[in-house]
Amino acid sequence: MLAYVARRFVYAVPIVLSVALVCFLLVHITPGDPLVAVLPADASQELAAQLRTAYGFDRPLPVQFGLWLWKAVHGDLGNSIATGRPVLSEVIRAVANTVTLAVVAAVIGFTLGLFFGIVAGYFRNTWIDKVATSVAIAGVSLPHYWLGMVLVIIFSVQLNWLPAVGAGPGGSGEWKWDWAHLSYLVLPAITTSVIPMGIVTRTVRALTGDILSQDFVEALRAKGLSETHVFRHVIKNAAPTALAVMGLQLGYMLGGSILIETVFSWPGSGLLLNSAIFQRDLPLLQGTILVLALFFVFLNLMVDIAQASIDPRIKRG
C-alpha cells in the first residue's frame, strides 16, 4: 500500500508542474492589459511603461514564469496588483470560506444523493424510482444561480427568514458555528448541493441497480443471507465508483462557484476568481487557479488511495 501511495505522489509532481505552466500561460495569453487595475486607459504611455517595469511585466514570459514558480515553491504567490495584499493570504481566506460552504453542501448533497440513489436502485421502475429520478434530473438540470435567486426571493425577500447575502453578521472573519452565522450558510449551501445531489443520485441508482442484477447477489440470497447483509455487499461494491464521483464533486465544490458565490456575495474562491478576472489581476488569478488546481490533484490522490484501500484490485492495476 505504501509503495502505491508513494507512486501516486510521484505521479502528482508532473501534473502539478503542468498545471502551474498552463495556468500561467492561460492568464498571460488572454487579451487585455495586466495593469488595467492600477492604470486607467487614459494614462500616458510614459506612465504605462514606468508601471510595466515596476511590476516586471516588461520581462520575457519564460523569465516571468521562472520567477513566479520559484517564489510559489517557496510559498510566495506575490502580491495582488489591485489591492497590494499578499495573494496567499487572500487565497487562504477565500478557500477557507469556500471549504465551509462546500463541506456543508457536500453533507447535504451526498446524504440526499446516496439516499435517493439507493432507494431508486432498490425500487427500480417503481413510482419511488420515478420520484427519486425526477429529483435527480431536476438537480442537475436547474441552473443553480437561478435556483439561488429563487430561494433568496422566497426565503429572504418574501418570508424574511434567512439573510440574502454575506457570510455572517460581521463578515467571515468573525465566523462562528451558531445559528446567527449558520443562517447565512443555509441558502448558498442548499443551492450548491443540488447538482452533486443529482449526480450522486443518478450514479448510485445505476450502480445499485446493476449490482442487484448481478449473479453474486442471487447467490448471496440463495445462501440465505438476510437483506441487510446483501445490502452491505451491494454498498461495498458500489462504494469505489460512488467515492470517485463524490470526490470529483467535492473538488468542484471546493473550487468554488463563481455564480453561486456572486449571487450570495459569499467571499469564497469563486468570488475571488470573479474579482481577479474582472480586474485583470494576474498574480491573484494565477495564484487562485494554482491553489484550486492543486486541490483537485490532492483530492484525486486521496480518492485514489481511498479506492485502493476499499478495493485491493485497484492497487494491483
Binding site: A41, P163, G166
Partner: protein
C-alpha cells in the same frame, strides 16, 4: 425578520431594544413600589434607559456595486465609485467638490487648501495656502510637509513612500503636476510641467494620507529592503488608515466589509456626520443587492436592478437619481475615408435619435438625454448653436444632402461591448440606435467585443487593426474635469498612442481653444474658455451624444437629509437615520 436583525445586531434592533426598556410594563412594575429602595432602583433604571438611548448607535449599511472594497490607503481604485466610498469619506484633498445641491452643477471648492493662485511671472508655479488646525485621524497635524509627502508618494520614485500601485490612478488624473515644495508650515508651492489652469480641479484626486502614521508603520514593517518595507507599510496603512476626512476607519475585512465611524473632530463642523457608523459591503450582482435591500440586510444600495425599481418604490423605498457628469456616446472616427468626416452625417445622426423614447421605453427613466457633454446650467456648457434634439425630418434632409437615401444607405460600423463599467446597457441601447438610425438611411453594424478589450483598444485608435474597421467606438466617459471631458478627445496631440482621441480629430480650432482654456488662470475666464470649447464641439457634432447616467440608488425611507448632487460623488455627512 427578527432572526436576521437580532443576529446581525443591527441598529434597528439596538433602537428597539432601548425602546422596550421604556415600555409600560417596566413603568407599571416600578410604580407599584413605594419604598426609598424602589425609588433608588427607579432612578438607576431611568439613568440606564437614558444611557442606553444615548449610546444607541445609528448605522447605515450600504451595498456597493464593486466586487471588492476599493483601496483604502488614500488613492482608491475602481474609478469614481472608489473615490466616493473610500476616498472622500476618510480623506480630503487640497480642493474638493461642492456636493451640497441637487440642482446646481457640482463645482470645485476649497478643501484642505483655503486659497490658491498661480505665480503671475511663472505660470507653472502655484501657491496653495493650507487650512490651519486640521489634524489627521491619528492626531498628527496636517501641514505643508504632509502635502509634499503626499505629492511625492506618487511622483518621486526615490521617496521611501513612493508606491507604484497608487501612481496609475493618481498621476493620470493630474497629468501636469511635477513637484511640491514647502514654503512655510501652511504654504506650499506646486509646479506643473507646463502652464495648466486645470490643476486645482485635478487636485481633487490627490487625497492626503497621514505621513506620521505611515512612518510608524514603516519603521515596524517587515521586509528585506526599503522597497519591501514600504510595500508592507502601505498594506498595513490600508488596514488601519488615517486621513483627515469626516469618517474614520473602524473595521476592515478585505473583500467583505469596511466600517467607518464619524469623526467628531472634523474640521468642517457643518459636515460632521450625523450617522455614527457606516458599513460598506461589496455586492457586485444587481439582483443580490436588491434582495439584500428588500430583506432589510442593508439600508442603501447602489444601482438597483432596473426592473426592480417599481417594486422598491411600492415597498416604500426611496429612489435617488440625478444627472451625472458621464456621457454615453459614439466617438467618431475622423480618419481618411470615414463617413463621419461629413458634418451633415454627424449632425443627422444626432438629430435622428429619440432620446426620450430610449429613456422611457428602454431604461425605465434612468438616464438623462444628452445634448452635449455638459447640459444647460453647467458652467462649461456654453451656447452651442446646433441644438441636439429629435428631428427625424431634419436628419433625413441632411442625409439626402450628403447623398444618401432609402435606396442608398450609409453603412457604419460601431465597436461596443456587452457590459462594462459606466456602459449602462450597451447592447439594448446600441440596438435602439441601430433601429433609430435606420430611419435616416444608416445601416449600422455592431462589432461587439469584450469590455476590457474595447477599453484597451480605445488607446490604440481608429487606425489600429484592433478597431476592426469600425467607424465609431462606444466607450463611455466621466466628465468631471476639462481634461477628461474634452481635451483628451478634441486636442490633436492627444491622438493615440498619447491619449483617447480615438478618432484622430485634428481641428486647429479645437487646439486653439484648448490652449486658451489651459492658459487662462482666472477661474471665471477659464470656465468661459471651456464653455467656448464645449460649444464648438457640439456645433461640430464631434460625438453622437446619447445619454448621461443618473447614478440610481435605492434606500430605506429611514434615511433622511441626503442630497444627490449632479456628481459621481455624494456627501454622506448630511444624512441621518431615523429609528
Amino acid at each position: 425578520m427578527h432572526t436576521i436583525k437580532s443576529a446581525t445586531q443591527e441598529p434597528a434592533t439596538a433602537v428597539k431594544g432601548t425602546a422596550s426598556l421604556r415600555s409600560p410594563v417596566i413603568v407599571r412594575r416600578t410604580a407599584s413600589l413605594r419604598s426609598p429602595m424602589a425609588l433608588a432602583m427607579m432612578a438607576v433604571a431611568a439613568s440606564f434607559v437614558l444611557a442606553q438611548a444615548a449610546v444607541a448607535e445609528t448605522v447605515v449599511r450600504i451595498g456597493m456595486t464593486a466586487a471588492d472594497i476599493p483601496r483604502t490607503l488614500g488613492q482608491p481604485d475602481q474609478g469614481f465609485e472608489g473615490n466616493r466610498f473610500t476616498g472622500l469619506t476618510m480623506y480630503d484633498a487640497l480642493t474638493g467638490w461642492d456636493l451640497s445641491s441637487s440642482d446646481k452643477a457640482s463645482v470645485v471648492v476649497p478643501g484642505l487648501a483655503t486659497e490658491w493662485a498661480v505665480n503671475p511671472d511663472d505660470k507653472t508655479k502655484w501657491v496653495f495656502k493650507l487650512r490651519p488646525g486640521v489634524k489627521f485621524h491619528d492626531g498628527s497635524p496636517f501641514n505643508a510637509d504632509a502635502v509634499v509627502w503626499n505629492v511625492e508618494k506618487v511622483l518621486k520614485q526615490d521617496a521611501p513612500q513612493f508606491d507604484a500601485s497608487q501612481v496609475g490612478v493618481t498621476a493620470s488624473r493630474m497629468p501636469t503636476l511635477a513637484s511640491a515644495r514647502k514654503i512655510d508650515d501652511l504654504t506650499v508651492e506646486l509646479s506643473t510641467k507646463e502652464p495648466d489652469s486645470f490643476l486645482p480641479i485635478n487636485l481633487t484626486n490627490l487625497f492626503m494620507a497621514s505621513p506620521s502614521k505611515w512612518q510608524k508603520l514603516y519603521e515596524s514593517a517587515p521586509g528585506a529592503d526599503a522597497k519591501a518595507k514600504s510595500q508592507a507599510a502601505w498594506a498595513a496603512f490600508a488596514a488601519d488608515a488615517s486621513g483627515t476626512g469626516p469618517w474614520k476607519m473602524s473595521k476592515f475585512t478585505p473583500r467583505e466589509r469596511l466600517e467607518v465611524v464619524k469623526n467628531p473632530e472634523y474640521w468642517d463642523k457643518a459636515r460632521v456626520p450625523k450617522v455614527d457608523r457606516m458599513v460598506m459591503l461589496p455586492m457586485p450582482e444587481a439582483n443580490a443587492r436588491t434582495a439584500a435591500l428588500l430583506s432589510g440586510q442593508v439600508d442603501w444600495i447602489e444601482a438597483p436592478a432596473p426592473d426592480a425599481v417599481p417594486q422598491l418604490k411600492q415597498r416604500g423605498f426611496t429612489i435617488y437619481s440625478n444627472e451625472q457628469p458621464h456621457v454615453w456616446p459614439w466617438q467618431f472616427s475622423r480618419i481618411e475615408g470615414s463617413p463621419w468626416n461629413d458634418i451633415r452625417v454627424r449632425k443627422a445622426a444626432n438629430l435622428c435619435v429619440d432620446r426620450e423614447g430610449m429613456k422611457d421605453g428602454l431604461l425605465a427613466g434612468l438616464m438623462v438625454p444628452a445634448t452635449g457633454t455638459f447640459e444647460p446650467g453647467h458652467p462649461w456648457r456654453g451656447k452651442p448653436t446646433f441644438e441636439i434634439k429629435y428631428d427625424k425630418a431634419a436628419a433625413q434632409k441632411l442625409m439626402q444632402e450628403a447623398g444618401y437615401g432609402p435606396s442608398k444607405k450609409l453603412t457604419v460600423k460601431t465597436q461596443t461591448s456587452a457590459s462594462g463599467s459606466g456602459q449602462m446597457q450597451p447592447l439594448p441601447m446600441n440596438e435602439y440606435l441601430q433601429q433609430a438610425l435606420a430611419e435616416c438611411y444608416f445601416d449600422v453594424q455592431l462589432d461587439v467585443i469584450e469590455w476590457n478589450t474595447l477599453f484597451t483598444n480605445w488607446r490604440r485608435g481608429a487606425k489600429d487593426p484592433s478597431a476592426n474597421g469600425a467607424h465609431a467606438t462606444n466607450v463611455t466617459y466621466a466628465a468631471m474635469d476639462p481634461f477628461f471631458a474634452m481635451v483628451r478627445f478634441l486636442q490633436s496631440s492627444m491622438a493615440p498612442p498619447v491619449s483617447n482621441n480615438w478618432g484622430f480629430i485634428n481641428d486647429p480650432k479645437f487646439d486653439a481653444l484648448v490652449k486658451k482654456a489651459r492658459e487662462t488662470f482666472d477661474p471665471k475666464e477659464r470656465d468661459a474658455a471651456l464653455a467656448e470649447l464645449h460649444a464648438a464641439s457640439v456645433d461640430d457634432a464631434a460625438f453622437l451624444y446619447v445619454a448621461h447616467d443618473v447614478g440610481p440608488r435605492a434606500m430605506t425611507a429611514k434615511i433622511k437629509g441626503l442630497v444627490q448632487p449632479k456628481s459621481w460623488f455624494v456627501d454622506f455627512s448630511t444624512m441621518s437615520m431615523t429609528p
